[in-house]
Structure formats: C-alpha cells, structure tokens
Symmetry: C2
Subunit: 396 residues, 2 copies
C-alpha cells in the first residue's frame, strides 16, 4: 500500500474533532449537549444577504474573476473606508473564507522551514495551515494572568532568526477575545519594520469589540504599508460561516500579485456566496448594534458566572466571542470527554474545547478550555451551571 | 521591504492570463473577441440547481461538516453507483472545486521535493498546485502524432525514482480531449501496483465522452483500491463552474482520514453551492443527452474546419471539450498576442490558449494551441475562419 506523506501524518486534528465521537454518543443516549465548543454563532444572517441569492437571475453559474468580481471588491473597499482603512479594490483578493486568505499569505511570503511568530494561545487551525505550507510556528507565550496582553517586545526579538518571515496576530483574538491596543499594534509595527518582516493580522472579528473601545487595524499603521497583510472574512461579521468568503488585503503590490497567482490556480471564489456577501455589505448598522449588545450581555453573564466557580480563573475578553478559562483540573481534555460521557444535570451536559490545541508549546494550557459564547443567555447560564456542578464531583 | 517567497516567485501564471491585457485592449478598440481560450461553457446550468438556492429556507448560513453534508455525500455515492463506481459516502470528501481536491490529494501523499508523473500536455493548473505543494512534476510526453495516447509503460518506468509518489491523469483530458481506454487504465493500474504508487485521476469531464465509447474510471479497477484517488467536480458536468464544489474519492481509508484533516483546517465547503450541487444530481438524462449532442456537433465542425487549414495538425478529441492543434507558426504565444493586437475580420478576432503552458518540458508545444469548443457552432465557424485568414498573413 502506498504511504501517506509525512505532511499528511503531521496535519493536526482539530482539538474539537477528537471529542466528536463522545458528543455523538451523548446524543445517542438522549442527552442534551450545550455547545460551548464551536464558533458557529446562533445569530441570524442578515435577511438582505439570504434574499440576494433567492432573487439571482443567473442562467449560467459561471466563474468570477480569480480575485473576486470588480463590483464586490469595490464595495469591500467602501466598507473599509468607513472603518478608516484606506485601500482600493486592487489591494483586495477575494478568497474562499479567511482560511484560504491565510494559505495564500503563507504561500506568498514563506518557503519550507521558514518561521512565523504567533502569540499563543492561537486559533488552532493556524497549526494546520502551517503544516500544509511546510512552515514552522514559533510561539510567543501570552498569559492568562496578564489577560493575554501582547508579550514584551524583547520576547519577540529573542525569537527572531534568519528564517523568521512574519508575525501573525488575531485581533480581536480567537481563542482569547483579547483586543490589541493601538499602542500594541505600534509596537508590532516597529518590530516588523526593524527586522523587515511581514505582519499578518487576522481581523475577522473586527466588528465584535466591546466596552466602547475602537478597533485599530494594522492597515491604519501607515509606516508598515509594505509589511501589512490583513485577513478578513464575512463568516462571523454577518453570521454566514457557510458562505466561505473572505479576503486578503495588502498595499504591498508584490504580495497581491503573488497571492493572485495562487488565486488563479484555483480559478475563482464561490459565485453564489459572493452575491450574498456583496448584499451583506448593505446590512444596516442596527443589525450590528443589536448583535453587539447581545454578545456583550452574554459575555458579562458568562464571566460573572464563571468567576463564581471556585478554582476557575478567567480572562475577560474585550472582543470576539470567546474566552479562555483555567479550570481546577489536571487535564481539560480528559475533563471535556468525561463531561460528555459521564456527567449530566437533568439530562443535560456541555461540550467545551480543551485549550491545549490552541497552544503549540507542548504541555501548556492543559488545564484551560476555550468557551465560545454563541448561545443565548439562558442556555449559557445552564451550561456554566453544569460546569460548576461537574467540577464539584470530577474525579481529578 | 520584506521579500516574497521563492515558492511565490515560482508560482506559474496561467497561460491565458498573460494575454488578458491584450484582450482588454482589443475590447477597448471595439473588437469582438471569440473566446476559444477558456473552459467556461456557454451551456445553461440545469434550472433545478439554480432554483434550489432560490427556495432555500436558511436563516443562518452555517458551516456544513468539513467533509460535506451527509445527505449530499450519500447522493453523490448514488450518482457513482449509476456509473458503475461503487463507493460509500465515507469514501467521499466534498471540496471547494476539483482544485481543492487536488491540493488535498497532493498534501496527503506527497512531501517537499517528491515527484508526480503526469502525461503532458496537462491541465496548466497542475503546475500551480505542484508549486504550491512543493512537489515536482515529472512529465511523460504524449504526442499529437499519436493523438495523445498513453505513452508506453517503459516510458513511465524510466521516470520512476524513489521520490515518485504518484501518477496523475486527466480522463478525458484537458487540454487534449484524449479518453483513456480500459486497457490503458489497466496498464496504469499495473504500474502503480508494481511500484507502490498512487494513481490520481481527474475525471471531471466523465460525462463528456463521445462516439459511443464508455468512460472507464480508475475506481472501477478493483486491483488498485488502495492506490486510486479520484478527483471530481460539478463545474463542467452541470455548467456550474462558479459553484466551486468538487470531491475527492478514495477507498483508501488512510487517504480519506488524512484529506479530512486538510478539510477540517479550512472548516467547510461552501454551503449554498452544496445546496445547488445536491439538487443538480436530479438533473434529467435528457439534459446530458442534449449537451453531449451539442458538443459532438461542435467538435465535428471544429475539427472539420481546422483540418481544412493548410499546415494545421489536429488531434481528434474523444471527450471533454478541448482540442490541441499544431499551427504553422514558430511561437503560438506571439501569434495569440498578434491576433488580439493586429488582426481582425469584419471587426472580429479570436483568443486562443498557447499550449506551451500545458507542458512542463521547456520548448515543447511552442507551435500548439488549445481550443475550447465552448461556443455555438456559428461562432466556432467564424472563429476558425479568422484563424485561417490570420495564418495566411501572419508574419511568422
């Protein structure tokens, strides 16, 4: 039998997938499972986006341009302008989700065995994209004690080698909900400028920023126009994860020309989803105001309830809809599995994402979980209560 | 300024893209351009597929499973059964176009600097996927004189090294329209079995097979169940290139488990397009009969007209909707550009794809072009007439 590649063997499995069979077993046993484990919001997609595909007048579902249709890119540039990000349609390549934008960025700027520095914990799929691209993640550790703030500049500089090509941040962050301040972005700008690196920012949660703070994009930092690559997506913004539309944005013309070659090889991003995504840009501000109010209230409830549990440490998120919590358990992986297999309150249990999968340093984050507050408040309260009761009896 | 990767610099540009500025110039000058250069059919998408997205009842455009929805994969397995290919839904991973299926296949079975043997000329984007995956294409030359038949077994065996991991064919072929016979597939099966290689077959043109011949899939060859990986797509079958839905099919459980990890990293294939693609499976046979009759008649006209031109050599395609023609010119790249820039018949010109981009051996195919017969017969006749008149006056 021919052999699987080393790359294929090295590809990480999603930290959630490992638990999937236990979730299925729980369903089979008739249990209700509260899903705090995934970033699939329960928020409705704007009707304007869903309706746009209902009234399409296509008779051939044809390719669009590889970089996305001109109209759509023009409108995306308009959206950014309202967010004080000044780019033209030529600085934008429409991609199949933020995922593909990351793959294009990695391919355009890194070769085999090159290194990318990422503050950890980080979005678990960065591991997969790195393995697929043959590059190595060098983590710089951010700590729950510091609310996951940007590590000191010196910590980054210690890690820079001749193989370092980029720093990648997620802002606001999955899984921490941490929002980088303008000062922190300026610090990163100074490092990448000094060491001639790219700065990639995954800003897909840009709209989800709380407590009156403004999001500061790397694209607003003019000194690093040639270094900055922004990754974006409609998935969370309009609760249309299934559209699979994102984009890569850069003022660096070589980056765009190179990413375009990757885009041409795969022909075009999905056409129907571009129709929905273009229409989504007309979503009224009231939609975001409501969604934001909903997330803030969920977050407050979640943090308040978690803080009541003895032995639980939690970093208060300022954006996105995740938080990382430290539990009084040795191994959150085992605990998550035990919850699904052996614990119920009134026939209900809860599924959480063990946080170890969000770290690339082995042995770190073993007692942490990521919680996605994508459920309504009532469900959230019940779910946290299950956690609380579970921790009382868990045979650690 | 930070540097682009070697991989990024090496990424090939589509052979057609280089001509795009000249086509735009031709439009700007008010010329009509017949596009024989791209595989975007003018055939209408089945209404049943287009209507399915018009009546969707989603209120959240959510992720599907990473491997595609259970229902859809079940129905795909049903489609294959009708084609005498016996697989279950668990042997199928739904992908974002055939492109992504190829990337997953390459990643699952090949590491950096591994080699894949491909009969050339081949689909130009195989170059891009190979570069993106860091693997090397080793071409085995098929010749226009032989109608692009499979090269002799010995030609393959000469090329096999310890780094060879797979043989890739496109059947029926883009750009040649060549259809491999059952005997040829059996020959390939014997080679991959003997040398413990994978056999990847891109069978996206399966429905487009002419002259009463039956398509024989590598999945029908039971002796190579563990070696065979089939790539498929809805793009051409239902003229829905913009859906971006394909699949990877294999009975090799390790291949599927590995490809699934790549699929999980990018979360899910596009949801709306899966709705359209699932509905497309109910397309009545009459649709294919009509489309096939149309392509056969186009092909016959095209070949007949091309053969009338002095100095033109053409391989008669038995499938797909492309053919490769040899022209009495030194460099088809220059000729294609000259057509767009300097030649018109009644204000009309023609755009062709220079075939050199479909070869990886430098200097081969320089006097060949690929013609896609995706235009109606009247336009085809006019387009070939333009070619004929052009060749009379072209300053070679």
């Amino acid at each position: 039998m021919p052999a699987i590649s080393k790359k294929g063997l090295d590809m990480p499995q999603s930290p959630i997938r490992k638990l999937a069979p236990y979730a299925e077993k729980a369903y089979a046993e008739g249990k209700t499972v509260y899903h705090l484990n995934i970033g699939q919001p329960d928020i409705k997609t704007p009707e304007i986006a869903l309706d746009a595909v209902k009234i399409h007048s296509l008779d051939i579902l044809a390719y669009t341009r590889s970089e996305g249709s001109d109209d759509y890119r023009q409108k995306i540039a308009g959206y950014y302008k309202k967010n004080d990000i000044h780019v033209s349609k030529d600085d934008i390549i429409v991609t199949t989700g933020g995922s593909e934008a990351l793959l294009f960025a990695f391919g355009s700027i890194m070769d085999i065995d090159d290194e990318i520095i990422i503050p950890e914990p980080f979005y678990a799929n960065y591991n997969g994209f790195s393995t697929a691209s043959g590059v190595n993640i060098v983590p710089v550790i951010s700590k729950i004690e510091d609310n996951f703030a940007l590590p000191a500049i010196e910590e980054f500089e210690k890690l820079i080698t001749p193989k370092t090509k980029a720093i990648l941040i997620c802002n606001p962050g999955n899984p921490t909900g941490y929002l980088y301040s303008k000062e922190e972005i300026k610090k990163l700008a100074a490092i990448v400028k000094k060491h001639d690196l790219f700065l990639i920012a995954d800003e897909v949660y840009r709209e989800f920023v709380y407590d009156g703070i403004e999001h500061y994009s790397i694209m607003q930092e003019e000194s690093i126009q040639e270094n900055a690559i922004m990754i974006d997506s409609v998935s969370k913004r309009y609760s249309m994860c299934g559209a699979r539309i994102g984009c890569l944005v850069s003022k660096n013309k070589e980056v765009i020309a190179t990413a375009l070659k990757f885009a041409q090889a795969r022909l075009s991003p999905p056409t129907l989803a571009q129709i929905a995504s273009e229409a989504a840009l007309n979503t009224p501000q009231s939609y975001f105001d409501e969604v934001k109010a909903e997330y803030v209230s969920r977050r407050n409830t979640l943090i308040e309830e978690l803080e009541k549990i003895e032995g639980v440490k939690v970093a208060k998120p300022k954006g996105a809809f995740y938080c990382v919590a430290e539990l009084p358990v040795k191994n959150a992986d085992d605990f998550a599995q035990w919850l699904l297999e052996h614990f119920v309150v009134n026939g209900e249990t809860v599924m959480v994402a063990p946080a170890a999968g969000f770290y690339s340093t082995p042995g770190v984050g073993l007692n942490q979980i990521r919680i996605a507050y994508v459920l309504n408040e009532n469900s959230l309260r019940k779910a946290v209560n299950i956690l609380k009761e579970a921790l009382k009896v868990y045979p650690n």
